[in-house]
């Protein structure tokens, strides 16, 4: 019975053996791109920019190893973005004369593709909820991938477009409500795709994509009704290096909370159907309550961790921009409220072992608090966070 333990797989291979040749190739590529970028444009960068480049390259390399689909995804997005930037050259006007830019590769076109794809993803995922076959959900995932890729490319190209509009403006496109909504859609979709891939639970998509579709709808309204996509110079308060890390970090938080809330909805439906219609096909198609609960916890955990970092970064930025790390500005205060909401959620789970419908409801209410923190504060309360006024 005893097997020589070389045959057993308990020995965790060393980290170097767990990295596959393709991973090495990806590392090398990321490194090469970063080095070339620095070699070409290093003279334009200050130490923060250089730090940002190293951070971005390091994160991309790590993410590619941690979650392999990121490798291909990031390569394609980077290639398309570079292509778009290259097509622009030094002339913003090419955006409307060049076929590719006009219909596919400009920031604006990218956002449209993102919107269409994410809507299609939502529709097919929902269809997948009601069909036996796995195909619609797989198709949904494909749409979601393309949609988030298009959105990310759009942000990258827009970044260049801002500089082309006026070189003296130059800023990263995470500084107004329009841009962060793109970021939100991209980030949430990618986070969802990660969980889907890790758990194999495709029916979650029907719920999560709904909230993403809602944010896309807001984005489109904001664009068409308010011309929000027009590139404007930055107000001085936002012209800070902190913004580049503070804002994206925040949106990992919001994305995680949004996913958790929608899984909460799925949880409640499953919970109800198990009692009222235990034999219905849909009851079986929904992931198990344990699985939903597990992903809900994980997305709240990642959301909470990042939201904490974002809040601390925000405090550090505030200390530099407004003269106080905490001034009880409405946005800060609501961040605290949001943080407390999820801190309580986590306590209930950790210390009392709470599970079930109450926690699901709590996660759903959390999304309302999140939405208010994100949007409501800018709309209804006055404060120093003036950049997102509707």
């Amino acid at each position: 019975m005893s097997v020589p333990h070389e045959a057993l797989d308990f020995e965790r291979p060393s980290i170097f053996r767990r990295i596959r040749p393709l991973d090495w190739a990806y590392f090398a590529l990321v490194l090469a791109v970063a080095v070339i970028a620095h070699w070409q444009y290093g003279h334009l960068m200050d130490r923060y920019d250089t730090g940002g480049l190293i951070l971005a390259a390091g994160m991309s390399a790590w993410l590619g190893w941690f979650w392999r689909p990121w490798q291909l995804f990031s390569i394609i997005v980077a290639a398309l973005s570079l292509f778009g930037v290259w097509l622009y050259g030094d002339d913003l006007a090419r955006g409307s004369t060049n076929f590719w830019l006009n219909y596919i590769g400009s920031g604006q076109a990218g956002v449209m593709w993102m919107s269409v794809m994410l809507y299609m993803a939502t529709a097919t995922y929902i269809l997948g909820l009601f069909t036996k076959s796995d195909f619609p959900s797989r198709l949904g995932a494909a749409f979601a991938w393309i949609g988030s890729g298009a959105g990310m490319m759009a942000l990258m190209v827009r970044w260049r477009e801002i500089y082309l509009t006026d070189p003296s403006w130059g800023y990263i496109p995470v500084s107004n409500l329009y841009e962060v909504f793109i970021l939100l859609a991209v980030m949430t979709t990618l986070m969802y795709l990660y969980y889907e891939q890790r758990t194999g639970q495709r029916t979650m998509g029907a719920f999560v994509m709904l909230v993403i579709a809602a944010s896309v709808t807001f984005l489109l309204w904001y664009m068409w009704d308010r011309q929000a996509h027009e590139i404007e110079p930055l107000v001085p308060a936002l012209n800070s290096w902190w913004m580049k890390i503070h804002v994206p970090t925040n949106f990992v938080g919001y994305g995680g909370f949004a996913i958790a809330a929608m899984l909460g909805v799925a949880y409640l439906i499953k919970h109800r159907f198990e009692r009222t219609r235990p034999d219905a096909a849909i009851t079986h198609r929904l992931p198990s309550k344990d699985a939903l609960d597990s992903v809900m916890y994980k997305s709240i955990a990642i959301g909470f961790a990042f939201f904490t970092i974002a809040t601390v970064l925000g405090a550090m930025w505030a200390a530099e921009a407004w003269g106080g790390y905490w001034t009880w500005d409405p946005k800060e205060t609501w961040s605290l409220i949001l943080w407390l909401t999820y801190a309580s959620w986590l306590h209930m789970r950790f210390t009392k072992g709470w599970r079930g419908p109450v926690m699901a409801w709590w996660a759903i209410i959390g999304l309302f608090v999140t939405t208010f923190t994100f949007l409501g504060v800018n709309m209804f309360l006055s404060g120093l966070h003036s950049y997102g006024e509707l």
Partner: protein
């Protein structure tokens, strides 16, 4: 699977958090209560609700504004509850204090257990208790006990467990654990929170409030020059933490900041003097601001040389623990050269009014009365949404403008904003003057048409002539010359022009209503309007002739229409003058926020602890495993019992445990499937 459950599983972790069997002592009850989850959650919710109130009820406004908003009754109540300064209200600080206490107690209570968890492997376990674990397994192996223990040791090591062994009475107990950092994460998180709160408390206004409560200092509510603020409202340099504002005009300096406190303020003395050399606003090509900058000179008796430094938004100066920020800007008393143009017969005889922002000036009106003009503000760049030639709204840069209030003898009057240069609106140039009843309202604009030289000369001439009875009569006669009933018409024309000049269309209509019976009013009214317009047109011809303009284009015709509209609007303008800004000498003031926050680094340290703690708690899983191996009853092979716990998700640990069991007991590969690490 929570930490509690691990304890509930009992014997193995007995030391971790056993409830004392002794009768509860009072101090113990207190610790239990203060560290209880229910209290913590209650406090968290209370804090959240208080924070919501603080954002819904706008904080730190002047008390007079609250009085208007809520009425005297609620104002009293709100003020009494400290709702206007929620975040520094005593009850709010009390909540935070309790939270800190609760968290500290929690840490105090948990840390012995945690420290023990970190060090104690607990080799005293019994087989029976292992079997009662949620995750437990048994197996019978052919291996010898020694062989098995060697194998188990290898698996545990490879899987990152630290293990201890004990042999007695022929049985081997292995106790193993992994992910101890998770437990440390718990400590870091909570200690981090305490550290943050302590740091923040040090930076808050608690000390100041305490001093005020003790009667050492007294709040000042009047707005008077610093020199007149009584010493009782002064805070000495020694005050360790504060945040305040001061506005310094260009070329001036200040060595104090104002600390807002409820309905008043304190004056904080600084150990140095800050001089503002120059304030600048940098702009993008669109005219939008790109940067606000102040050139400061710090005069410190401790220094040999004054320190020169330029601060801007996002780039403060940190000097000796004092942080100086660019917070706002305002006018610093700009000199204004004003030409007061009477809006009547004297239109060509204007008055020179020397003005300075924040000052008042008395002006005699042509009617023999006096008005007081109060200069409120000046801005040299103004963006206003106006209609462009296609009739779309467009942001336009209108250049310098000044704000003022014009008061009559009783102190009543409207608020105005006049622009120095004419602005293009739908293809023609106008001098704009905004009027509003109170500073919160929208402006209504008076559009005075500019002439070809972008000046008001033609308008002034026209206005003066219109008010001149002799001119009116001459014009009226000329206009009516071709008419058979000439003199009567001429008289009417002149009369209508007078009415119009003095009261606009409103006066004309009132006169018609008074004179003409209702049945004929519409018909006669139209006729009279035509007569009036003929007169106004005739007057215009005269003006143009004087100017030497011979051919009348569309442009000239339009000017007349605009002038007529403007004269009509003058009756609503409620100012006997149009104040034209002819020159100015800009002087700005920079609003500096000055803060001293010795707790800042403490807060940051706490934040870092919190973040590290959270990650450890979420992403390091704490697992414990016990294995008991003994010789089988029949003397051949080994009998194994194994159990484990974790504070992570139940399903996950079950998976993980299943893998461990396959490796350790079944000694089969787990099929290369996910090893439950992620």
């Amino acid at each position: 699977m929570s930490n509690n459950e691990q304890v509930a599983g009992s014997a193995p972790a007995a030391g971790a958090r056993s409830k004392s069997a002794r009768a509860p002592r009072r101090s113990r009850i207190l610790v239990e209560f203060m560290g209880s989850m229910n209290l913590a959650i209650t406090l968290l919710v209370a804090l959240a609700i208080a924070s919501v109130i603080g954002t819904v009820l706008v904080q730190n406004q002047p008390y007079t504004e609250y009085l208007i908003d809520y009425g005297p009754f609620w104002h009293e109540i709100f003020a009494g509850m400290g709702l206007y300064q929620v975040y520094s209200a005593t009850w709010f600080l009390l909540i935070v204090t309790f939270l800190v206490a609760s968290t500290s107690f929690c840490v105090y209570r948990q840390s012995p257990g945690i420290l023990k968890d970190l060090r104690r492997y607990n080799l005293q376990v019994k087989e029976k208790s292992l079997r009662s674990f949620h995750s437990s397994a048994t197996g019978e192996l052919d291996q010898s006990q020694q062989e098995f223990v060697d194998h188990a040791r290898r698996v545990l090591k490879a899987q990152g467990f630290k293990a201890r062994e004990k042999e007695s009475e022929g049985q081997t107990v292995i106790a193993a654990m992994k992910g101890r950092w998770n437990r440390l994460g718990y400590l870091l998180t909570h200690v981090g929170i305490v550290v943050i709160c302590v740091g923040a408390l040090a930076d808050g206004s608690t000390l100041l409030k305490a001093k005020e409560w003790l009667g050492i200092i007294e709040i000042e509510t009047r707005s008077v020059p610093v020199s007149e603020v009584p010493r009782s409202a002064w805070v000495p340099v020694s005050n360790p933490s504060f945040r305040g504002m001061v506005e310094i005009p260009e070329g001036s300096s200040a060595d104090v900041v104002f600390l807002p406190m409820r309905e008043g303020y304190f004056v904080q003395q600084l150990p140095f003097r800050i001089e503002l050399e120059e304030f600048r606003i940098e702009r993008f090509s669109t005219g939008a601001e790109s940067s606000f900058e102040s050139d400061l000179i710090i005069h410190d008796p401790e220094r040999d040389e004054p320190l020169r430094h330029t601060i801007s938004v996002n780039h403060p100066l940190i000097y000796n623990g004092y942080a100086i920020y660019q917070a706002s800007f305002a006018d610093g008393g700009t000199r204004l050269d004003i030409e007061a143009i009477p809006l009547g017969g004297e239109a060509l005889r204007s008055l020179e009014v020397p003005g300075r922002v924040f000052q008042e000036q008395e002006i005699p009106t042509p009617q023999g009365d006096t008005r007081t003009i109060e200069f409120i503000d000046f801005r040299d760049e103004n963006v206003v949404p106006l209609l462009n030639e296609e009739g779309q709204r467009e942001n336009r840069h209108l250049g310098p403008a000044f704000d003022f209030r014009l008061m009559d003898r009783t102190g009543h009057g409207l608020y105005y904003r006049n622009y120095m240069r004419p602005a293009l609106q739908e293809g023609a140039m106008y001098f704009l003057s905004g009027v509003r009843e109170s500073p919160g309202d929208e402006f209504h604009y008076l559009f005075l048409p500019a002439d070809a030289d972008d000046s008001l000369d033609r308008f002034r001439t026209y206005l003066a002539m219109l008010h001149n009875a002799e001119v009116r009569n001459t014009i009226a006669r000329e206009v009516a010359a071709d008419d058979p009933s000439g003199t009567a018409i001429a008289q009417t024309t002149s009369e209508l022009m007078r009415l119009f000049a003095e009261g606009g269309y409103g006066a004309v209509h009132a006169e018609i209503d008074r004179r003409v019976p209702e049945e004929q009013r519409e018909q006669v009214g139209q006729l009279l309007m035509r007569v009036l317009h003929a007169g106004l047109q005739g007057l215009y011809m005269e003006v143009l002739e004087d100017e030497g303009v011979v051919s009348i284009q569309e442009e000239e015709q339009r000017w007349l229409e605009d002038a007529v509209s403007a004269i009509n609007a003058i009756s609503l303008y409620e100012s006997p003058f149009y104040f034209h800004l002819s020159d100015f000498e800009h002087r700005e003031a920079s609003g500096l926020q000055i803060a001293r926050a010795p707790g800042q680094s403490t807060v940051y340290t706490g934040s870092v602890m919190l973040i590290i703690g959270i990650f450890l708690m979420f992403y390091v899983s704490y697992q414990r495993l016990w294995i008991i191996a003994r010789r089988r009853e029949d003397g051949r092979g080994t009998q194994v019992t194994m159990a484990g716990t974790s504070n992570r998700h139940k399903v996950e640990f079950e998976n993980r445990f299943a893998h461990l069991k396959r490796w350790i007991i079944d000694q089969k590969p787990a099929n290369g499937s996910d090893d439950g690490q992620k």
